[in-house]
Amino acid sequence: MGKASRAIADNPALASAPGIDVNRVVSIIWMAGAALAALAGVVYSLSNGISWQQGFQLLLLIFAGVTLGGLGTAVGAIVGSIIVGTMIQVSTLFIPSELKNVGALAVLIIILMIRPQGILGRRRGWAELWIGETSSVRPSHRASAFRRSSSPWPRSA
């Protein structure tokens, strides 16, 4: 399942060639992600109460935590989230408490500019972030496939 999902992330058309059922894997991944998020919501509500807006308020901070830690690694998500969470609360010592989320979001933007793969992001897999970069180590077909699948627009023809 893990290998199948990584194959689909890289190139969905190519992944279905050896018989991976793309839709089934994607559904399972969505369900697993939703289950984890639901668990997180329950744990959050145990200490903070339930509010109809709690998900949205956390959304950007979740993005910040995951991106900081490095997309594509589970340990990265944990590390990034701990750092973001601690930083938000500690920052209230220095900046007004209503702006504590601003600090986290600002750090997110700065991290994305300096090191877009995050703290623990895989250097090899995410070097393709720099679209203009070429490397003699990476096979060129994989590079171009990754870049094209990164666009939300369809590939021509």
Binding site: L112, R147, S151, W153
Partner: protein
């Protein structure tokens, strides 16, 4: 059930202030997302800096309306450059995350108590549009058939639609030009454009800036029409509504944002008035009148989901030119 009133309200709002604001925001998004393929989820940030630029210049600094407009446009350009310069070299998702974070930062800063003397906190800035309404040539409200506007509303709606037409003509001319061809090519296949020697980064930055400036006029109309600039109006809801308007009308089409905005607001106000009317006249008994606002958004959300699944190109779109990968 007073259907006449329901429809007249819906038609009035369908071509009214909100429709104009979202048409302008969607035209800007059209240039960025529809034609260039940039995922800008911070369009509300552009509208916010423009509106606050205008409001702060007039209310705090005491400058004239025209200087305020220039300040707002300059703020939108600076925001576009700040957002685009570092992130346009990265994958599309990164621009999305950075723009949504930037828009939220702007909203929180504008809302904060710390900056209350400058930005007015959560109350915002009020009473700065008098210069504009002093130029109003309409002496009385306008009532033509089902449409009913007060004289101030009529003035800003007229100016707003003139702006929409001017922007649409500009977009049409831009996209027919060689520059527009490169932009559309970037959307389809960046590597091919790069192989022809064009600087994709420069074109994307230009598209982001132009889209941002067009969208910021929506912020001006919002500030002047509502006669106040409030931070909570410029949240992520506004961005998502602008996307809904754009996709409904058809991205990458000149008339898409206009059609989408009119249909969207007509539909929203129709559902709202019909439900409120039905509840207050007793035709529907299982809903209270305070729940109508939320139910309207349910229906809106479900309609948008159905739209994305069954007709992602929207009303005017071309299926070959746009197909959002729904995954």
């Amino acid at each position: 059930m007073d259907w006449g009133n329901v429809f007249s309200q819906a038609i009035t709002q369908g071509i009214g202030i909100q429709a104009v604001i979202f048409a302008l925001a969607a035209i800007g998004l059209n240039v960025q997302f529809g034609y260039t393929g940039l995922l800008n989820f911070g369009q509300s940030g552009f509208l916010a800096v423009a509106a606050y630029g205008l409001g702060v210049s007039i209310a705090m600094m005491g400058w004239s309306l025209w200087v305020g407009l220039l300040v707002g446009i300059a703020a939108a350009v600076v925001l576009a450059l700040l957002l685009g310069a570092p992130t346009l070299r990265l994958r599309a998702d990164y621009l999305a995350i950075v723009t949504i974070a930037a828009a939220e930062i702007l909203r929180l800063v504008f809302r904060s108590v710390t900056f209350n003397p400058v930005f007015g906190g959560s109350d915002g800035i009020n009473r700065f549009a008098d210069d504009f309404y002093a130029l109003n040539p309409f002496n009385a409200g306008v009532k033509i058939g089902p449409v009913d506007f007060s004289e101030n509303d009529m003035w800003i709606v007229t100016i707003g639609w003139i702006l929409v037409v001017v922007m649409s003509v500009l977009v049409f001319l831009m996209m027919r030009s060689p520059w527009g061809r490169v932009i559309k090519a970037i959307r389809e296949d960046e590597d091919a454009v790069r192989s022809l020697g064009k600087s994709v980064y420069a074109y994307k930055l230009q598209a982001l800036t132009i889209g941002g400036v067009m969208g910021c006029f929506g912020g001006f109309v919002a500030a002047i029409a509502l006669q106040s600039v409030q931070p909570d109006y410029y949240g992520t809801d506004l961005t998502f509504f602008a996307y809904a308007v754009l996709i409904l009308g058809g991205a990458a089409r000149v008339l898409g944002p206009i059609v989408g905005s009119v249909v969207f607001w007509f539909g929203l106000v129709l559902i709202d008035s019909a439900l409120s009317n039905a509840v207050s006249s007793g035709a529907i008994t299982f809903i209270q009148s305070t729940q109508v606002g939320q139910i309207r958004y349910w229906i809106l959300g479900i309609s948008l989901m159905l739209l994305m699944i069954y007709r992602p190109q929207g009303i005017l779109g071309d299926k070959k030119e746009l197909s959002l990968d729904a995954r």
